[in-house]
């Protein structure tokens, strides 16, 4: 069975089309501009490069400075919090300890992971399925369905939160994982994105698989899906990040302290401890540092993914 799945190289060449976009994007993001690279580096140009690098470096350090200040402040004792020094006079992890003791941080973290992971998996599957169907099947009503889905992109989430809230009350979904997740388990943006990429999958490939006796679902899952992996990865990154940082809907639908997601928990904790900024900065650090670490490890894929999702969507 697995023999019929391994595709001959000629087919590989055919399928390069939908992927081509991504590799050019990759180049865009990593390669220095042709004009700049083509010119010879004489003395004046080198000086200009150094100056430019310096300006960009100062700007870039300015960009990350709030995070530096956040971590520095989180390591200061309450009595030192208003000192200007970049190095805490008597560094302490006590603030972190206190935040972990006072709040259900671990629980919030787990909640965020659960919600973001399930939502992302669901979006990845159903958006691909819908995108594939709209790209590769001709059936009565296909256009209407596509326009219907596309039109939902124009409706701001804020218009829907009130009806969703009424719905959640009627169906007893408030304060549950499903209640937090249900508005996002399929995204119109993702359907549109995946449709764009599935359109680049050659029809001959699908027809050949049909002749081989593959079921339609298997063609989708085993033949088409592997060809749009870059787009799928982009969609997953985009969706995970969006759900991880989501605020307004979880804020509305969550009622109990232990069901809070990280942003909601951090928001409540911060406003409840108004002036204790040493604790607030520790909480903010706990919320952002994991994301920063993940981002630094996967920065290429994440930046590429978001650029791709942003550009094609």
């Amino acid at each position: 069975m697995s023999d019929s799945l391994s595709r001959p190289t000629s087919m590989r060449a055919q399928i390069a089309a939908p992927v081509a976009d991504v590799s050019t994007l990759d180049e865009v993001l990593s390669r220095p501009h042709a004009v700049a690279a083509g010119r010879r580096m004489n003395g004046r140009r080198r000086a200009a490069q150094v100056l430019l690098a310096l300006i960009l470096l100062i700007g870039g350090l300015g960009m990350i400075f709030p995070f530096v200040w956040m971590v520095v402040s989180s390591l200061k004792k309450a009595q030192d919090i208003y000192t200007l020094s970049l190095i805490p006079p008597s560094p302490t992890l006590g603030n972190y300890q206190e935040v972990l003791q006072k709040t259900s941080y671990v629980r919030w973290f787990v909640n965020s992971i659960v919600v973001a992971t399930i939502t992302t998996a669901s979006v990845a599957f159903f958006d691909s399925l819908a995108g594939y169907t709209l790209a590769k099947f001709r059936f009565p009503g296909a256009n209407i369905i596509f326009i219907l889905i596309l039109s939902t992109l124009m409706v701001p989430t804020e218009m829907l939160v009130i009806p969703w809230y009424m719905m959640s009350i009627e169906l007893h979904w408030t304060n549950s994982y499903w209640g937090i997740m249900f508005p996002g388990v399929i995204s119109a943006f993702g359907v549109f994105l995946m449709r764009q990429f599935f359109m680049g999958v050659p029809n001959e490939l699908i027809d050949a698989a049909r002749l081989d006796g593959f079921s339609e679902f298997r063609i989708f899952w085993k033949i088409a899906m592997p060809l749009v992996k870059p787009a799928l990865a982009a969609l997953c990154i985009f969706t995970f990040l969006g759900n991880w940082n989501a605020y307004i809907w979880p804020l509305i639908v969550i009622r109990s302290e232990e069901m809070r997601t990280l942003p909601v928990g951090i928001a409540f904790f911060s406003s409840e401890s108004q002036s204790s900024f040493h604790l607030i900065m520790a909480a903010a650090s706990l919320a952002t540092i994991p994301v920063i670490i993940i981002f630094i490890i996967f920065q290429r894929q994440i930046i590429k993914g978001i650029a791709l999702a942003g550009l094609k969507g």
């Binding site: 042709a34 004009v35 960009l56 709030p66 399925l129 009130i162 009424m166 911060s270 930046i303």
Partner: protein, 298 residues
Amino acid sequence: MSLSLQRRRWLWAYAFIAIPLFFFLFVRIGPTFYAFWMSLHRWDPIALDRPYIGLENYRNLGGDEVFWKSLRNTWIYVGVGVPAGLILSLAIALGLQRMIRFTGFFRVLYFLPYVTSLVAVGWVWRWMYMPNGLFNDLLGGIGLGPYAWLGSPDMAIYAIIATTVWQGLGFQIIIFLAGLESIPGDYLEAAALDGAGGWQQFRDVTFPLLNPTLVFLVVTGVISNLQVFTQVRAMSSQGTGGPLNSTISIVLYVYQQAFQALPSKMGYASAMTVVLFAMILAITIVQLKVLSRDTSNE
């Protein structure tokens, strides 16, 4: 009963699309109409009686000073935040594009704020804006201030916009870089051969060719700034859009009226979301017009 091949394929398609279609009908399209319906009622979720009141909610909006204030503020978020973000990100993207080394490192620096939670970074900025916080300490060192920042009705909204711009910059830079890269180097070289200086090359070649990127970023920027909520709730005094409603946005006011006011005024809040929807719809239509004009010129 045997089905033709074509019909079998139709059945597969319907089976594939069934769940997504069901979802969009019941979670997106249905609630959209429901929001319109709610906006025509006096709607308190715990009251049994939710009387139909026609357009009264919309009429009341007209006389609601806070609503007008939130509308005005929202357009300040858009009108100041979007251009500021675009100018800064374009300048940085042009700089990054000319860099030969360390491009990956710089991208990480500029992109980092975009991936972090707006709630958390909102509080970090609030900390820096405190009367005895970092900004006033630094400015005090050179004999300026102290400023009230978030405590000042004149300044607070711009302080929040600064945070918004900072957070969104990375995304805009990356999109600009992709747009800049799609401009053929030949064009710029040709312009250089014709004696165009750096500024002229930018104005006459780069900028016009960047138009589709610019339209995309303007539209996404306007739409996301129209929906500003999280940073206002994290940064304004008590999270209420203060001081003196000087930072309240439409979405924050919607949230307050629907989920914090007693009794809850969900019908009234829905009427506000309809206004927001109308604005976003208008912008989308303008975008489609602009984009279709662009392609017909090609």
